[in-house]
């Protein structure tokens, strides 16, 4: 067995969460070792669409996303790569409940100085010539939204991380988390041990299994997700900068991609994956949908309702992957009371790419300073600690599946902002 290596921080998982955290920690002088079971950015990260809707129902969450864009802009400069594609975004409504959602969002956004406003349907139609608009009753437009390109973001995190001295080991699964007297002291892999007083669990869908290695219950679940990407079609040109769309009533989101259109669905009955029952050396980038998958069929059906030129015969690829959901769709970032030095960083519920820039910063603050400049109450790792109903795997999975199934289904009510103030 090779001699044990030592680092200030060992990070389990080489997706955007782990890579961003590593980059930020190394920027403050910490020695960081990333251990990735397969290839960097080849898990959920590699399957993501990367849509960035900065305005969320919660002001602090919004602030994290907006700051994340600033971090991305800096990364673009340093790594000389285009990450953020500023398409702007449109939220559309075809029924009164969804129109009410839009109005509430516009009001909330304006109260914090966010660039958002209602848009006339006729103007929506002009922006989106390839989309059906005759059934729409309201829409709002956020010109500063867009999407982050996952591959470019990953390469930037790695480039800057390497410059700062981060070490990366791939094809190296973590088989044990070593805990002594309630303190973490490192991890074990088939290649040997890595000693550290800080271990970060950024394992995405595998994060609940990693947590179990340290006798910890992490309430995340692995939820299947699908989107289609149409091939470029001269009859239905899709401009690279045409806005991303969110149609919550149909449960779909869309954005331009390489001359075609991505349409993804938050299905009402998502699949739960058991991460213990995967093929050997599971490669998520090669995951396939069954030809008669009901989720794919519902995706195509929903896409067809908004984009009538899309049906099951349209030349397209179906991308399927696994998201890490939590019971409230907010991630777990930080420590649990039972193990000192073990920080969790997962459960991004379909928003890992866009949250990763700010989350990396927050994790580095929590690890090095014991506190963050952001209000992290809603993303605390221990918020369900030892809570009945959040202890058994079955209960956790059922709650996460429900959350994922309602993700676009439930009508949203943004939290009221205490005292309207300009950002």
């Amino acid at each position: 067995m090779t001699q044990a290596k030592t680092a200030d921080v060992v990070i389990i998982g080489g997706g955007v969460a782990g890579l961003s955290t590593a980059m930020q920690l190394a920027g403050r002088g910490a020695s960081v070792q990333i251990l990735e079971r397969e290839r960097l950015g080849n898990g959920s990260t590699g399957r993501a669409a990367g849509l960035l809707g900065q305005l969320r129902g919660n002001a602090e969450h919004t602030r994290m996303l907006i700051d994340g864009v600033t971090i991305v802009r800096e990364l673009e400069e340093t790594a000389q790569v285009e990450i953020f594609v500023p398409t702007g975004s449109l939220r559309i409504a075809e029924v009164p409940e969804r129109a009410a959602e839009i109005s509430a969002l516009v009001e909330m956004g304006k109260s914090i100085g966010f660039d958002i406003d209602h848009m006339e349907i006729s103007e929506v139609a002009r922006h989106m010539p390839y989309m059906r608009t005759d059934d729409l009753i309201d829409a709002c437009y956020c010109p500063t939204d867009g999407h982050l390109q996952p591959a470019e973001l990953v390469s930037a995190y790695i480039k800057v991380g390497k410059q700062r001295g981060v070490e990366y080991k791939t094809n190296t699964p973590v088989t044990e988390i070593m805990v002594d007297g309630g303190r973490v002291r490192g991890v074990r892999t088939p290649e040997g041990e890595y000693h550290s007083s800080v271990v970060v669990n950024a394992g995405g869908p595998w994060s609940y299994l990693n947590a179990e290695l340290a006798d910890t219950v992490l309430p995340t679940a692995a939820i299947g997700h699908y989107y289609l990407t149409t091939r470029p079609d001269a009859n239905h040109p899709v401009d690279r900068l045409s806005p991303a769309i969110r149609d919550r009533q149909l449960r779909i989101y869309t954005r331009p991609e390489s001359g075609g259109l991505i349409v993804g669905i938050y299905d009402e009955e998502p699949e739960l994956h058991d991460m213990r029952k995967l093929p050997v050396d599971f490669d998520m980038s090669r995951m396939k949908a069954a030809r008669d998958s009901i989720q794919v069929a519902r995706l195509i059906d929903a896409a067809h309702q908004r984009f009538p030129w899309i049906d099951e015969r349209t030349p397209m690829t179906i991308t399927t992957g696994i998201m890490t959901f939590t019971p409230d769709a907010r991630p777990f970032c930080g420590k649990m009371p039972n193990v000192e030095g073990l920080f969790h960083c997962s459960g991004f519920s379909g928003h890992g790419i866009v949250q990763s820039p700010a989350i990396g910063l927050i994790m580095s603050q929590l690890i090095l300073d014991g506190a963050s400049t952001y209000d992290v109450e809603s993303i605390e790792a221990d918020r369900y600690f030892d809570m009945p109903g959040y202890l058994k795997r079955g209960d956790i999975e059922s709650k996460c599946v429900t959350m994922a199934g309602n993700y676009y289904g439930k009508v949203e009510r943004p939290e009221p902002v205490a005292g309207a103030q300009s950002a």
């Binding site: 029952k277 995967l278 093929p279 050997v280 050396d281 599971f282 490669d283 090669r286 396939k288 949908a289 069954a290 030809r291 008669d292 998958s293 009901i294 794919v296 069929a297 519902r298 195509i300 059906d301 049906d311 099951e312 015969r313 030349p315 179906i318």
Partner: protein, 248 residues
């Protein structure tokens, strides 16, 4: 017109395949199974033909054990008219599959048999050819384009020397290659209709084909996929290493 589409159930070869501990089979635990991709192309082509001309029946056939009903329901959801599951637990090889398919073809009397050029688990590329010979029908393999004409079929074949275009009278056997089409995913309507479509199950014995294995699997072993490469830090170092290894 009746089109017979034999389909094989295979492991998803995009995931890692390893030999079982006893070396007599492939380890199938947690491995997803799919319709053989080339057979899915055949199903798609047959469904497209049936969409263009009413009065076309597409019969999907599967030969094997459990799991084939799921397979055939997939073909039905994609648009096949009917399914036939020839049930057997017997080990099979292309020769015996072809003999069973001949028996099915003699019952069904199709005008066209459309099937994948090979299965991605064994890459045998034999069954279609055996079947055509057994039936004494003309064959066109590696089809990248298909055109149905009156009583005959025009096929572009992908060969090592380029595209060969041939014409065959029907009935004929055609095997599909990658570029023939892009198979669809089933629509919601397709999935719902599939539940009501007939799926007949026949025991292989009913077909009166004594199964005589011609292939005996001696051993499966996994290849060592550990990379033996080494990272060098610069082009200069690369040149030095290549020179030292007498490659340059």
């Amino acid at each position: 017109m009746k089109i017979l589409v034999p389909t094989k159930r295979v492991p998803d070869t995009d995931q890692k395949i390893v030999a079982a501990a006893d070396g007599l089979s492939v380890a199938v635990e947690h491995l997803p199974f799919v319709v053989n991709p080339f057979d899915a192309i055949a199903v798609e082509e047959a469904v497209r033909i049936s969409e263009r001309s009413t009065d076309t029946e597409v019969v999907a056939v599967g030969i094997g054990g459990e799991g084939y009903d799921q397979q055939l329901r997939t073909a039905l959801a994609m648009g096949a008219t009917r399914g036939v599951h020839v049930q057997t637990a017997h080990a099979l090889d292309p020769w015996n599959v072809a003999r069973l398919l001949r028996a099915v073809a003699e019952r069904e009397q199709p005008d066209l048999i459309l099937m994948g050029k090979q299965a991605v688990d064994d890459d045998a590329n034999q069954t279609g050819q055996f079947l055509a010979a057994l039936l004494d029908w003309p064959q066109a393999t590696f089809a990248s384009r298909l055109e149905l004409l009156e009583g005959e079929i025009r096929v572009d074949r992908e060969t090592d020397h380029g595209i060969e275009t041939i014409r065959l009278p029907l009935p004929a056997v055609v095997t599909t290659d990658l570029r023939l089409n892009e198979p669809r995913y089933a629509s919601l309507a397709g999935i719902m209709k599939a539940k009501k479509k007939p799926l007949d199950v026949i025991a292989a014995e009913e077909l009166d084909v004594p199964l005589e294995p011609r292939v005996e699997v001696l051993r499966y072993s996994s290849s060592d996929t550990k990379r033996r490469g080494e990272r060098v830090s610069s082009v200069k170092e690369l040149m030095e290493r290549l020179e030292a290894a007498s490659v340059l």
